[in-house]
């Protein structure tokens, strides 16, 4: 039980994939203009991360390692990720066409989200079992969601605020992200 708590705290706060490990910055900056689309993206990415963590563990344990094909890990994992993302895309298109349109090109771009591949590869290097891998995947998604939602809420306020002309848009967003990152570094040493 405690082990699960440690895994979750670690992946959500201490080693947050976006602000501490600096993975998955593309959707982080790209879909954080509005709170609604950020929530949608966060949910989609969490879904993808969890499924990917599980699927990549299975592929690794049952296909790659027995056959001695460790060197194919990267390709195989990308195959897994692409399939999961495609599935997610179809699912979202059916259930929420507005979210589908709002996410636009960022939905298939989850395939290239380095956080997803990062989670899959990091899980193999840590020698975890199935449950632990899935939990890491879920924790990564939760951490990504937390940061994305906080950031998009701040960006919405920044959009209405009196930002100097030269800082409007991406510049002030980057500065904000940097400050958030500094804040999250305060979690190091928590566990």
């Amino acid at each position: 039980m405690q082990e699960f708590a440690v895994i979750l705290v670690s992946s959500i706060l201490i080693n947050n994939y976006v602000l501490v490990q600096f993975l998955g910055l593309c959707p982080f900056m790209g879909v954080s203009n509005k709170l609604e689309s950020a929530i949608g993206m966060a949910a989609a990415t969490t879904f993808v991360l969890t499924l990917t963590a599980m699927a990549s563990y299975i592929v690794n344990a049952m296909v790659l390692e027995p056959l001695g094909l460790i060197y194919l890990r990267t390709i195989a994992f990308i195959l897994v990720i692409a399939a999961v993302v495609q599935f997610t895309k179809m699912f979202i298109e059916k259930t929420s066409p507005l979210l589908y349109r709002v996410l636009g090109v960022f939905l298939p771009l989850i395939t290239t989200n380095c956080a997803v591949l990062g989670v899959a590869l990091q899980n193999t290097s840590k020698d975890l079992n199935f449950v632990q891998s899935s939990l890491y995947g879920f924790g990564a998604g939760a951490g990504f969601s937390l940061v994305l939602i906080l950031f998009s809420a701040m960006r919405e306020r920044l959009a209405a605020a009196d930002v100097p002309e030269s800082f409007k848009g991406a510049a002030i967003a980057m500065i904000t992200a940097g400050l958030m990152s500094l804040a999250f570094m305060g979690f190091s040493g928590l566990v």
Binding site: L69, V80, M90, K94
Partner: protein, 209 residues
């Protein structure tokens, strides 16, 4: 079988990858069928935001065709009767940046207009009745035509067809009922470079020198 694969690593790799691809392909194929999507409800949502004057200034024969075109990726700044507020609303819906109104398609007019037929000159030809997209003109052949002001959207389509040119677009007067407060001026700017159009004293001196 396993020995064969163990001895031929390249074959093993190929089989593994192909096998995985087929597996995932099958799964996705099944999912594609299950999650098939018909139609495009986004068009409805865009159409809700357009002003429904059916005037054709955007280049499309009505508001719904333009909504369909926007759903297909067309520019959102082609509607003058909607003006900047409609552009902003559509931009908000689609989460794209909001551009300025495209002047090629017309100017946004501050004043709403309503058509008025000068009854003395009307010859009862029904051409304007046929042109009106919302059936706001009352009349019949050889009988007086008149515009029902409450239903007129100010789209201008009746002015052209009239052979005796007896239709005027009159501005709708603002009454005390539609009057509203205007937003106050922005509070003072703190940063010098933000003052619009003002040249900084340093630059002025440099220019003079």
């Amino acid at each position: 079988m396993i020995e064969l694969i163990a001895q031929n690593p390249i074959l093993a790799a190929l089989i593994a990858l192909v096998g995985l691809s087929i597996l995932f392909g099958a799964l996705l194929g099944f999912a594609a069928e299950k999650f098939k999507v018909e139609g495009d409800p986004i068009v409805e949502q865009i159409d809700e935001l357009l002003p429904q004057t059916q005037c054709g200034q955007c280049g499309f024969p009505g508001c719904r065709p333009y909504a369909e075109s926007i759903a297909g990726g067309d520019d959102i700044n082609k509607c003058p009767p909607g003006g900047q507020s409609t552009i902003n609303a559509i931009a908000n819906l689609l989460d794209v940046p909001a551009p300025e109104l495209d002047a090629e398609h017309g100017e946004e007019s501050e004043v709403k207009t309503v058509a008025y037929i000068r009854e003395d000159e009307c010859i009862g030809c029904t051409k304007c009745i046929q042109a009106c997209p919302v059936d706001a003109i009352l009349g019949a052949a050889k009988l007086m035509h008149t515009v029902i002001a409450d239903e007129c959207t100010g789209c201008d389509l009746c002015v052209e067809p009239c052979p005796v040119d007896c239709i005027d677009m009159l501005p709708v007067a603002e009454t005390i009922a539609d009057w509203k407060w205007s937003i106050p001026a922005k509070p003072g700017q703190m940063i010098a470079t933000d003052r619009r159009g003002e040249v900084s004293p340093v630059a002025q001196n440099e220019d003079a020198a």
